[in-house]
Subunit: 422 residues, 2 copies
């Protein structure tokens, strides 16, 4: 019988968090705990920074109930970080430090849960063996609410923010419709997606038929034309009595300037009071005089685990599980991906893609998903999006509030002396 | 056997809508349909305007399934209106018109579903018999997300917005905690409540122990002191690593000026880009340089039927039902009220109060509900609020989205000639 070489594993969360990144953590942890090839599982406190500063959380000290509860807990339970490793040539010290920490704790598996930038970091770590002689198996775990990762049909985190945005748009639209006779005529709802319009597109699911809200979606992919937009708003208020507008934070003019950067100043002359929703709402009022309301969901949308998509939760767990299974089979420098087999009924499986195909790349909304007039989604887009928001996965409640997990976060005893400045 | 005099009834929705005002409609309608004293039930299209313009909806033409589904449908299915009747002395024409329409359709019962202003309108209508010789029984049905109606322990609509705000605060706070190490330190969440801090107070339920978010709540009842606030933010970031701030749209300086009116201008010099959240966030950045995010929930919070409080839905239905029961017993000029019998376990019954005790009055957050430092809620406040967000009452879903009711809204044939200008 072949003797199994047992090495420890490292897991970290990276970049902006989501409603289901902890479900991926749950998938990684529950699977790793069952793998004979994996000894201890450590999590980086605040992502890769935890590795660089030797601030490791001993995941084995968490109860099975806490780990299970991560599946219904939003945000990053282990702490995330916006921190991108430079190339090995540019900052060799950081990589040497990583190896020092990994060696001290016998870490042979590296799981990195994040988006485009994070897959770049994962790719660099996966090259440590070849570049610096430290053998490590590195697998990325996809996560981004923006859905802009290439080479996967969709990305865990997106389905839930899509569901939140579609549900909120439908609800707020009913509100506006109720009020429009004597009060609010125009409602502007700002959603995330700095460079890609996936989240804005999801709002389009709120309407079931022609002329239903949202009446106008402003995508980052479509250059904003003020007069065309204002004409459409007036037409819509004339036809429907009100107008619901969903605007991506990344909406921009033809020259690339974000609408939100259009020079808003406060009473003190400071710029960036920001928010594209108030700007668009004000633009409408200046032109047409309609009474308006606006909302900016910001973090609410990406942390809204209470209205997560069941499909999203399942996929988030599945990519975490698959990452561990790939790693213990010795597959390095890959990311589990979601492969769509059919849309109706929806069927998907987990595939795998090389990290090099994912790192630093962005998948925008394809032109065929945006209606010819630029203000809505096509049937093809609806077919793509609908399965991703399917099903509910309610968290348990206590005293009227979701009962979210909290880790103990027991630190692993440091083995290295000296601090590492990041 | 006494012969029952059967007369028709009129129901209307008024003012800002809520996640559960249709549940009250459902209570009114299902109860009225069973009452032998009530013939037809008509709803005003867009509130009292529907009565003035003789634009009545024949509720009897809606299916029982649609009526039942109103219980899980947010906003005002029959249309609401912001329209306050002047006094009979000031605008006798409007009252004469109301009587004309009521007489034409033999309306003997008037149910008005709204807040403070609406109870004033209901009170005036209840006096039509004495003042203008048209006998009508008028009962108010309480509704306001602001919870500022006097003479009732709480107000249908509030429990659900309270739950939404508490849940969203808890979720967003987890997000900020994840990101704080390298990114966002301060999160500002703006909630409704122009004159009373009930909704802001509900955010306080998100935290379970001392030092838990939200770290700072800015109430309309407490004069805003900029330096004291900024000091607290810095202390909080120092202690916890981040700071979650919930601000009421009605937050104001000692002289009564709203923070949101503090002179924001856009690039064109126009004022009222508005929103107190971006203003507060910017104030913090100017003082301390922390990276921030902010959210403005606006209509999302009051239409969020997907996360409604079960207690709130039940109370909303119950006041609708009670209104009809009171009316057919001949009780005029009253409003069913919610009477708390106990907080733990929570027990409530329906009582009744004269409309004159409710009309135009506002119930603010009592001083004993605000912590001595002015930045949080007390245990007494928590005891009051907690039962109101208890229980979930999920709507049914279809294709990943809540399946909300839509009325046919068949118009009653007009009996009067001529238009009424409003």
């Amino acid at each position: 019988m072949k003797k199994i070489v047992r090495r420890n594993a490292f897991y970290a969360q990276s970049g902006g968090v989501s409603a289901v990144i902890n479900a991926s953590a749950c998938g990684v942890i529950e699977t790793a705990m069952r793998c004979r090839q994996i000894g201890k599982l450590y999590a980086g406190r605040h992502g890769i920074i935890g590795a660089l500063t030797e601030d490791l959380i001993d995941v084995g000290r968490e109860s099975a109930a806490t780990i299970r509860a991560l599946k219904h807990t939003p945000a990053g339970a282990f702490g995330s970080a916006r921190f991108k490793l430079k190339s090995i040539e540019q900052n060799r010290t950081e990589y040497e430090r990583l190896i020092e920490v990994f060696r001290a704790h016998d870490i042979g598996y590296f799981f990195y849960n994040g988006g485009n930038d994070s897959m770049d970091t994962a790719l660099k770590v996966s090259q440590l063996g070849a570049a610096l002689g430290y053998p490590i198996t590195c697998v990325g775990v996809p996560k981004t609410v923006d859905n802009d990762l290439p080479a996967t049909d969709c990305c865990p985190g997106f389905g839930s923010v899509a569901k939140y945005v579609a549900v909120s748009t439908r609800e707020a639209a009913l509100d506006v419709a109720s009020m429009a006779r004597t009060s609010t005529r125009v409602f502007v709802f700002e959603v995330m997606g700095r460079h890609a319009g996936w989240i804005a597109a999801a709002a389009g699911l709120a309407g079931r038929g022609a002329g239903e809200p949202p009446h106008i979606i402003l995508f980052p992919e479509i250059a904003f034309e003020q007069q065309k937009f204002l004409d459409r708003v007036r037409q819509c208020v004339g036809d429907c009595g009100y107008c619901v507008i969903v605007v991506s934070e990344g909406a921009a003019y033809a020259d690339g300037r974000f609408l939100a950067d259009a020079g808003t100043t406060d009473a003190f002359g400071h710029t960036q009071l920001g928010g594209v929703a108030p700007l668009v709402a004000n633009m409408v009022r200046q032109a047409h005089g309609y009474k308006y309301h606006w909302a900016v969901a910001d973090y609410l949308q990406r942390s809204a685990r209470h209205i997560a998509s069941r499909v999203d939760v399942e996929q988030a767990y599945a990519v975490g599980k698959a990452a561990v299974e790939l790693a213990v089979r010795g597959v390095n420098a890959v990311m589990p991906a979601i492969v769509r087999k059919a849309s109706k009924p929806y069927r998907w499986v987990i595939g795998q893609v090389p990290l090099a195909q994912v790192a630093n790349k962005e998948k925008k909304l394809p032109p065929g998903y945006i209606r010819a007039d630029g203000f809505g989604i096509t049937e093809a887009c609806r077919r793509y999006l609908e399965p991703l928001i399917a099903g509910e996965a309610y968290p348990p409640y206590k005293n009227g509030l979701p009962d979210y997990a909290r880790i103990k976060g027991v630190a692993v005893r440091r083995k290295l002396s000296g601090e590492f400045k990041i």
